[in-house]
């Protein structure tokens, strides 16, 4: 309806606010709900090829024979340490075991003081060795355990990569009782090595899991 000209000036627009209460109810319920159900860990994956058993070798085209036989670098994890071997060449820094002789691991376990942060309420691998000790309970504690010598493994892998730069494949085998965490630790060491800053030098990124040793 048109207004009287005299009333135009006094006309107050109805400044009604939007009724936000239902929306607020919804939002204040949704936010706690989502906060609880969201897991705030960033996840990643490690690519692994299957052990070559069964149907794995179905229709692979016959490759031309490479000039050099593949190195077949194998890292075997036991509860005594790591054993490195390569069928396609002599690995630097490793004495090939004499026939019939079952030498110890190439890289035995070491006693090391480690932080408990990663192993809260459990033991660092190999757990079959560390189980006799008490569990890590305090995240800030630094305790001595027998652990795998990942630094030495890394150094040896770098020397091997220097000698066989074209190799990208590593076969990882383990004893049946070795826990998954020890496996991923080795995969971390074989995949790449951290250089200065944020750079990483790839070593043997193609991991093949071997069905294991009995």
């Amino acid at each position: 309806m048109a207004r009287k000209p005299s009333q135009r000036r006094n006309f107050e627009q109805d400044d009604q606010d939007l009724n936000l209460i239902p929306f607020m109810n919804l939002v204040s319920l949704l936010i706690p709900c989502l906060l609880v159900s969201t897991v705030f860990v960033s996840i990643a994956v490690i690519n692994v090829s299957a052990p070559a058993i069964g149907t794995a070798a179905e229709s692979e085209p016959e490759k031309e024979k490479p000039e050099k036989p593949p190195l077949n670098l194998t890292v075997t994890i036991t509860d005594q340490g790591y054993t490195l071997a390569g069928s396609g060449g002599v690995l630097p820094g490793i004495k090939p075991a004499a026939a019939g002789e079952s030498g110890g691991p190439t890289i035995p376990l070491i006693d090391k003081e480690i932080s408990c942060t990663r192993y809260l309420d459990t033991w660092p691998p190999p757990r079959s060795v560390n189980k006799s000790m008490s569990k890590c309970t305090d995240p800030d504690a630094i305790r001595a355990f027998k652990v795998y010598d990942l630094e030495r493994l890394s150094i040896m892998l770098i020397t091997i990569k220097d000698q066989f730069p074209e190799e990208n494949k590593v076969i990882i085998a383990a004893e049946p009782d070795i826990e998954f965490e020890a496996l991923t630790d080795v995969m971390d060491s074989t995949r790449d090595v951290k250089l200065e800053g944020d750079e990483r030098r790839p070593l043997f990124p193609e991991v093949v899991l071997s069905p294991g040793i009995s």
Binding site: L34, V39, A44, I46, V48, I53, E179, F180, L209, G212
Partner: protein, 197 residues
Amino acid sequence: MSDNNDQIPEDINSLPDPADLHTGEAGLVREKRLSRRTFDEGEGLNINSLMDIMTILLVFLLKSYGSDPVKLKQAPDLKPPFSSAQLKPEQSSTVTLTMNNILVNDQNVLSIVDGKVSEADTSGGGNYFIDPLGSVLEGDVENQRAVAKFNANSEFTGLLTIICDRHVPFSLLSQVMYTAGQVEFSKFKFLVVKGGA
């Protein structure tokens, strides 16, 4: 202590009585006038900024909830190991291994004891094939192939993501991988938590 602070200022009489400002009749009028002057518009709580925060938070949470192709469920017996891996997970079927259960796509398939499958559930050479897991995975492969027939975008790639607790022994892992390999899963991805050295 000096007594200076307690001394009464000389011009006390010319100062207005503080009590008068609020309680006296003049004070009331003054206060009314003041409030009319300053709080003329916008009565009630101003929740605009709160709404902004909540809307942004809601969008962020909804986005982070739905964007990951593989979700990690929280359970006391499922703690994947830390790793320095950087690859992003891809959409695929999942097998979850804990010390007590084997799950396929978040459905329980088999309960196990201390990370070992009882021999009654296994078959094949060296007891590598886990029968219940094999049949479930086979059904999953058939499903994927049936979908792939009608949808060119979802090809069967033979990719399987394995979500594995850090304590799971290698024997169980190799059994599961062998079983998956028998039903034509050929590429595997191990799920890990970022944060390793």
